[in-house]
């Protein structure tokens, strides 16, 4: 069996309240899970940033009334790619396309509006599903580039 790939998808998940001190734990946990694939150290750093951005957004934006639940799910697909899904049940996003634009933020002055831009830059694919009052699900996918080259 090829290293890091198997016939079934392997999934782990974490659930925690949207507190700032959980951001570092979430990115370290996902990076540890991802390290079974052939990611380079640079790619693991990129994964950490992407997780950090998605979880920080829940902490900062999703629950204006105080901490609410965050669910982080990491999957290694049979194709050997990493899929990370960060879900909340918070206020949701009014205009998803706009939210994904670089430098767009609903908290100007305090925030740069770069989080989703970083995920877009560091992951191979980014999907944001959200509607006002319906919560938000951010899903990103990443393939180890080295493994892709070796397979060819």
């Amino acid at each position: 069996m090829a290293h890091g790939a198997s016939a079934v998808a392997n999934t782990v998940h974490l659930e925690f309240p949207s507190l700032p001190e959980n951001v570092g734990f979430a990115r370290a946990a996902v990076a540890l899970f991802a390290s079974r694939l052939d990611f380079t150290l640079d790619e693991l750093e990129e994964i950490k940033v992407a997780v950090s951005e998605a979880v920080s957004n829940v902490v900062v934006h999703a629950y204006p009334e105080g901490p609410g639940p965050v669910r982080v799910e990491a999957t290694v697909t049979p194709q050997g790619e990493l899929v990370v899904r960060v879900a909340d049940q918070g206020r949701g996003i009014e205009d998803v396309a706009r939210a994904c634009e670089a430098s767009f933020t609903t908290r100007p002055g305090e925030h740069l509006g770069l989080g989703l831009t970083f995920i877009n830059e560091y992951a191979d694919r980014l999907e944001v599903n959200s509607a006002p009052g319906q919560g938000t699900v951010v899903t990103f996918t990443k393939r180890p580039q080295m493994a892709a080259v070796h397979r060819e």
Binding site: A28, S35, S52, S56
Partner: protein, 126 residues
């Protein structure tokens, strides 16, 4: 295991003065949970005080930064430049350098190989 730091997450901030510069040395991880430590170590009122117009960010041991961390670095930049000072960045690690580049921080600041070089260059043409 490769790539997984065994150190606990967290940030260490050290501040000291060097001539016309305040030096902030950051070690560890700068994110939403640690950004306030930087703000506390360098509050807005400190910019330009006691003849220390400039700011040197020693990032040699900063392992991680994300957009929340960059947010506080931009804040420092605004405070320092509002008082007529400038900001230099000393040898960020590769992942941090990349984030700074993407955010446009590199274009606003002076890059230096050491704290000495940063201080010389800020004092030299300032």
């Amino acid at each position: 295991m490769a790539g997984i730091p065994t150190e606990t997450t967290g940030l260490e901030v050290l501040r000291y003065g060097r001539g016309a510069c305040t030096v902030l040395r950051l070690a560890g991880e700068l994110d939403l949970s640690t950004a306030h430590q930087v703000r506390n170590a360098f509050p807005a009122e400190l910019a330009g005080r006691r003849g220390r117009r400039h700011l040197v960010l020693d990032l040699r041991r900063l392992r991680f930064v994300d957009s929340s961390g960059l947010g506080v670095l931009f804040e420092l930049y605004r405070w320092v430049t509002a008082q007529g000072g400038r900001v230099a960045v000393v040898r960020p690690t590769p992942p941090v350098a990349r984030a700074l580049r993407l955010a446009g921080y590199g274009k606003l600041t002076t890059a230096a190989e050491s704290v000495d070089e940063a201080v010389r260059s800020l004092e030299g043409d300032g």
